[in-house]
C-alpha cells in the first residue's frame, strides 16, 4: 500500500462504481481498542461526486458506534469498492451525521424504493475522501512487478517456463 498515486478526487470511474448498486462496498472503521472492524454497506454512494454518503440501518451497530467515535475523536474510516476487475481503496474523514433533512429523506426513500415501504434507516453519514487508490489485482501486480520483479513468480508457471521442460 502507499505506492499508488493518491488523490482525494473521485474520478468519473469511481463515481460510476459508487453509484452502481451491484458493486461490492465495504466500510472499515476502528473499534474503541483500535482494532479494525469491517462491514459491507451497499448504501455507500456519492450524491455530489465529491463527498461520500452512506446510511446506517442501526443506531447500535458496531460500524455506527465506530463512526460516532470517528467524528468525535478524529478517527479515520476507509472503504473498499469493487466491481469485476475494478477496485478502489478510499480513506476518508467522517464529516457529518444527518438525522433529518433533505439528504436523510433522500437516503430513506432510496432504501424504501429498494426494500419496500416499511424499510427504515437510522441515520446518514457524510465523508470527505482524503485519498483514493486503485487497488485492482492488475494494477497492484503491475506496481509490484515494477519495483520487485522477482516476487510472486513461481517458476513453474506457464507464462514463465518454456514448453519443453
Amino acid at each position: 500500500m502507499g505506492h499508488n498515486k493518491r488523490t482525494a478526487v473521485l474520478t468519473a470511474g469511481i463515481v460510476s462504481l459508487l453509484k452502481d448498486k451491484s458493486a461490492i462496498k465495504v466500510a472499515g472503521t476502528l473499534n474503541a481498542d483500535g482494532s479494525p472492524y469491517i462491514a459491507a454497506n451497499d448504501s455507500l454512494s456519492t450524491l455530489d461526486g465529491q463527498t461520500l454518503i452512506l446510511s446506517e440501518a442501526l443506531e447500535k451497530s458496531v460500524s455506527n458506534r465506530n463512526l460516532v467515535r470517528g467524528i468525535w475523536f478524529d478517527k479515520p474510516v476507509s472503504f473498499h469498492v469493487a466491481r469485476g476487475d475494478e477496485a478502489y481503496y478510499i480513506q476518508a474523514k467522517v464529516y457529518r451525521c444527518l438525522i433529518a433533512g433533505k439528504l436523510f429523506e433522500q437516503m430513506l426513500l432510496r432504501k424504501r424504493a429498494e426494500e419496500g415501504a416499511d424499510a427504515d434507516i437510522s441515520l446518514v453519514w457524510e465523508f470527505i475522501p482524503v485519498s483514493v487508490e486503485e487497488v485492482s489485482a492488475k494494477v497492484l501486480r503491475k506496481e509490484q512487478e515494477a519495483r520487485h520483479p522477482y516476487f510472486d513468480r513461481h517458476l513453474d508457471r506457464a507464462s514463465i517456463r518454456t514448453a519443453n521442460n
Binding site: W72, R96, I99, E105
Partner: protein, 416 residues
C-alpha cells in the same frame, strides 16, 4: 475575550479528553445562546428552515413580534441537537453567520464550526379541520414531536412556580406569534389530526412527547390532568397499531393514575422531573412541587413508576446549575456535583434514569439576573451522570440525542 473562550472549550477538551468537543460546544451553546446575523436570518426565511415566528424577548421579560422567523434547534456536524436559545437577553452569545451556502458558528471573530438547523417540518403551515395552525399544537426537533397539552401552569396562580421558570407567564406571548390568542387547553381531535399530518413526512418523527404546565386539580391531585392526558394519548394512538414511542413530562402521579395512563394508552415512558435534588433547595426553588405532592412523595411516585413502565423507562431531570443560585444555593461546584451524582446513583439503583439539562437564566423568572452555570461544572456533571448510569446498565433511549437533544449526558451514550 471571545478568542479566549474558544480556547476555553479546547482547554477543557484537553482536560476531559473523553468528552467530545461537540458535546462541550453544545453545553456552552446552551449556557450562552446564539444570535443569527442578518444574513443568517435571511437564509432561514424559507420552507427549508423557517420555524416559529420570531419574538424578541427583552431583559425585562417583555416580548415583541418581528416579521421574521427563527430556525429550529441547532444541529452540530455530529448530529448533536443543541436546543440553543436565539433570544436577545444573552449577554455573550455565539454568532451564526451565513457564507457560501453554509451556516458558520463564531465565537466573537473566531470560527468554531459549520452548523445547521432542524429542518422545518412539512406539517407547518397546515390547519386542523377546526382551523388551528398545526405548528401551534406541536413543534419538532430532529426526530421528536413536542406537543404542549395544556398551556397554563397552576403553580403560577398561587405564586408557587419553580424559581427558574418563565413558561406560560401569560398567553400574551402567543398572541403576536399566532395572531389569535392560544387557548389553554388543546382539543384531542386537533392533536390527532396534527399527528396524522406529521406522519405523512417520511422518516421525520420517531417519538411523540407531551408536556404541559402543572394542573393539580381533581379529587386526588392531578386527576383532571391525567384524564386530559389519557384522552390526548388515546387520540394520538388512533394513528398507530399498538404502543408507540412516546414520553410525557408530567408531575409525579399516584400508582393508580400511572396504571391507568399505561393501560389505557400507548405511552412508553414517563418523566416526572425532580428539578433539584437537595431537599432544602427543592423547597426553595420548587415550592409548588414541594406542595403538590411534596418532595418525599414525588420521589416515591417516581420509583413506583418503574413497576409500571419498567426499568429504564422512567426518567427524571435536574435543571443543572440552578442548585448554585444565590442566595441559598451551593457555595461550590464540588458540593453541587456531589449532590447531583448522589441523586443519579440513588435513582439508577432503582431503575430510574436521572438526566441533566442546562439552566439558562430567564429574565421573566424569579432568578432573573443570576449567572448561568460554569462550563466546566456542566462538563463534569454530564460525564459523571453518564458514568453512573452506564455502570447500572441504563440507556436513555427515550431521551437520547435523536429523541430529545436536551441532555449532553445522554448524548455521550452514542458510542456504547
Amino acid at each position: 475575550m471571545a478568542a479566549d473562550r474558544v480556547l476555553e472549550i479546547d482547554r477543557l477538551g484537553r482536560k476531559y479528553p473523553d468528552v467530545p468537543r461537540f458535546i462541550i460546544l453544545k453545553l456552552d451553546l446552551l449556557r450562552r445562546g446564539a444570535r443569527l446575523t442578518s444574513r443568517a436570518l435571511d437564509a432561514v426565511q424559507n420552507d427549508e428552515y423557517r420555524f416559529g415566528p420570531m419574538l424578541i424577548f427583552f431583559k425585562n421579560g417583555g416580548s415583541k413580534k418581528t416579521d421574521r422567523s427563527n430556525p429550529g434547534s441547532m444541529l452540530l456536524r455530529d448530529g448533536t441537537t443543541a436546543p440553543v436559545s436565539f433570544e436577545e437577553y444573552f449577554e455573550d452569545p455565539y454568532r451564526v453567520d451565513y457564507t457560501s451556502g453554509k451556516f458558520i458558528l463564531y465565537d466573537g471573530r473566531v470560527r468554531v464550526d459549520e452548523v445547521d438547523f432542524t429542518p422545518r417540518p412539512k406539517y407547518y403551515g397546515h390547519l386542523t379541520t377546526s382551523g388551528i395552525p398545526m405548528e401551534s399544537i406541536a413543534s419538532a426537533r430532529a426526530q421528536r414531536l413536542i406537543i404542549c397539552a395544556y398551556r397554563h401552569c397552576h403553580l403560577w396562580d398561587t405564586g408557587d412556580q419553580c424559581k427558574y421558570c418563565a413558561f406560560f407567564t401569560d398567553l400574551k406571548a402567543s398572541r403576536p406569534a399566532f395572531d389569535t390568542p392560544l387557548r389553554r387547553g388543546v382539543d384531542p381531535e386537533d392533536i390527532y389530526e396534527t399527528v396524522r399530518e406529521v406522519l405523512k413526512e417520511p422518516g421525520r418523527i420517531s417519538e411523540i412527547y407531551l408536556t404541559a404546565g402543572m394542573d393539580y386539580r381533581g379529587e386526588h391531585f392531578f386527576d383532571e390532568e391525567v384524564e386530559r392526558y389519557i384522552r390526548i394519548l388515546q387520540a394520538i394512538g388512533r394513528n398507530f397499531k399498538g404502543r408507540f414511542s412516546s414520553q410525557i413530562m408530567a408531575p409525579a402521579y399516584s400508582k393508580a393514575q400511572l396504571t391507568r395512563l399505561y393501560r389505557e394508552t400507548g405511552l412508553t415512558s414517563y418523566c416526572p422531573n425532580i428539578e433539584v435534588w437537595d431537599e432544602r433547595l427543592f423547597g426553595w426553588i420548587c415550592p409548588g412541587k414541594n406542595k403538590w405532592p411534596g418532595r418525599k412523595e414525588w420521589i416515591k411516585r417516581t420509583l413506583d413508576a418503574v413497576d409500571i413502565f419498567g426499568k429504564g423507562n422512567v426518567y427524571t431531570q435536574v435543571v443543572a446549575g440552578v442548585e448554585l443560585a444565590r442566595p441559598h444555593g451551593f457555595k461550590t461546584v464540588d458540593a453541587a456535583l456531589r449532590s447531583n451524582l448522589e441523586a443519579c446513583e440513588f435513582f439508577a439503583k432503582r431503575g430510574v434514569i436521572f438526566l441533566s439539562t442546562v439552566w439558562r437564566m430567564n429574565p421573566a423568572s424569579a432568578l432573573a439576573g443570576q449567572k448561568n452555570p460554569p462550563l466546566e461544572y456542566i462538563i463534569r456533571l454530564s460525564k459523571g451522570l453518564y458514568d453512573i448510569r452506564k455502570a447500572y446498565g441504563l440507556s436513555s433511549d427515550n431521551d437520547d440525542y435523536k429523541h430529545c437533544g436536551n441532555h449532553a449526558d445522554a448524548d455521550l451514550e452514542r458510542i456504547d
